[in-house]
Symmetry: C2
């Protein structure tokens, strides 16, 4: 079966969205109400994690976004460059700092955040000549739902979808709708349009039903194929993942057994690996194995994208790691 | 000799300016280009450190500024409340995060920073009913030169100087002109006017000549008294401090010998202690002793204002600490 995604040769996978640093509290507890040990800055932002994993796996990859003119911005651009990601369309904001997220895990596994995203460089980018040059030679666009809450990202995504599709490229969407991010009516409408235009949809858990707008897994899958989605991979964390093809085919993948150090970024690495493997010509089965390995390996290392593996690292991980029963 | 400063009974000392959290790298080195151990958030901002020291010493104290609606803001307001500082005129910005400064010491003792001040809540406050209510019952205004680079702080300071002086209150100025902060022509003019209106001037090292606009210590002192300053205390760090009275009187104070852990905030604690002691009716000699102790004690503790002492703590410090020869 031919891949439903544009091959790597057509041009890079482009991800549009927030680039952040993450600073992690090293003790478990409630919030940041007193001085405490921290570690950071780690390169972060869901779209940046996704594209880092693409680059590390050897896929053509490029990022659209913005950082401040500070060390936190350089942490990100240096990192993505090392991963082989084209950073020509990452702009450097002269006035606003690089976006940041402080994260602390609570005893119950939930998290407290202190964000500076909406009023940081992360949210201040738009269409530019450099962005246009990149999109004109891109083969695939990946969009995170979280980027839709940023007006400037919306403008870039709207234009990029049309250009990339017109040249035979494809689109993947990770709903990535965190509870913290509220969508207004207009954004919800844009989100629905993007889902309908997606060749590949990468929801986590309940995001599947949210994206389909109907309840029940089977019903949601049916509805999504009906509106035009070509391939769906449902991420279930430790419960594994499932590929759904438009012909009713289904592949279940069990999760790898790992010692979790930091769950942040698992879904983004999973998605980046799956998409990249598919664009490199692998079967859904093979892509699902690499994706499961990429997500699992990433949680074994502190930092949102510190555990994103190369192909060699993922091969070694797969060979040495057990799967859940 | 009657104090040249309005007594504590007239109303609180008000400080106007930036409120920040500080996050400190725990290793020495260059900048923040990779993930590293940090500790924070510490309550910070030069004006906030100053007013914290006032409150801890038992002086009437109040702060004008802004924080974000986040844990970093609460770190500051909770801290100042505990110190007895009136926080009624600290506003909470619904859209912008609390200002922040990441600090790392280099091998040579200099520092690298990553700031978010200009585009944070720290720079977004202005005159309000609550600010007006506070200023109308204040006895003294303290201004840091750094606040002059913030347009909204300038507007508050301009208005507050007139009101406080009209009701018999006084003004102190700490030039606090960090190299990082550029002053344009208009700000430089405002700074000169403020210096001329200052009852008490608290320069550090070369700031004395900068404030006077002439070279040479003796010449600078002469010039400052000529334009209307009533009392000058020159801070020289480990080299001690000197009081200059307008009648040509001079008192030198030797510095206390301490193990320096974190120099940030020393000058602000010195100033806050000196001003408070004078407003509480102490002589320049006695105020100079407490001020030297407050600055020295603060550098023995990690965090910009974590070592600010109460009167009891400073008495104990003075009794147990040697002075430099």
């Amino acid at each position: 079966m031919a891949s439903i995604l544009a091959p790597d040769g057509l041009g890079p996978t482009v991800c549009v969205g927030e680039i952040l640093v993450e600073i992690v509290a090293t003790t478990v507890g409630d919030g940041f109400l007193e001085a405490q040990p921290l570690v950071g800055p780690f390169a972060s932002g869901a779209p940046a994690i996704f594209i880092s994993q693409c680059g590390r796996l050897g896929g053509k990859a490029a990022m659209v976004g913005a950082v401040g003119d500070d060390d936190f911005g350089r942490v990100n651009t240096d990192r993505l460059k090392r991963d082989g990601v084209d950073v020509s369309a990452i702009s450097i904001d002269p006035d606003y700092p690089t976006g940041s997220a402080f994260v602390r895990y609570r005893k119950d596994g939930s998290r407290d955040f202190v964000y500076n995203i909406a009023t940081s460089a992360a949210a201040r980018f738009g269409w530019s000549e450099l962005v246009g040059n990149l999109i004109d030679r891109s083969g695939h666009l990946h969009v995170m739902g979280s980027a839709l809450s940023v007006p400037s990202a919306r403008a870039v995504i709207d234009r990029a979808v049309d250009i990339v599709k017109a040249r035979g490229g494809t689109l993947s969407v990770d709903p990535n709708l965190r509870k913290e991010l509220k969508l207004d009516e207009d954004t919800e409408r844009r989100f629905s349009r993007l889902v309908a235009a997606a060749d590949l949809l990468l929801p986590s858990g309940e995001e599947l039903e949210r994206a389909a707008g109907v309840e029940g897994e089977a019903e949601a899958i049916r509805r999504l194929f009906e509106i035009g989605v070509k391939e769906i991979v449902l991420k279930r964390g430790a419960d594994g993942a499932t590929y759904f093809g438009s012909q009713g085919d289904r592949i279940d993948a069990r999760a790898f057994v790992v010692q979790e150090v930091d769950p942040t970024g698992a879904g983004d690495c999973f998605g980046g690996a799956y998409l990249t493997c598919r664009r490199l010509g692998m079967s859904p089965q093979q892509a699902l194995t690499y994706a499961s390995a990429a997500g699992a390996r990433n949680v074994t290392v502190l930092g949102p994208m510190e555990g994103a593996g190369t192909r060699q690292e993922l091969d070694a991980f797969i060979a040495s790691t057990e799967r859940r029963p």
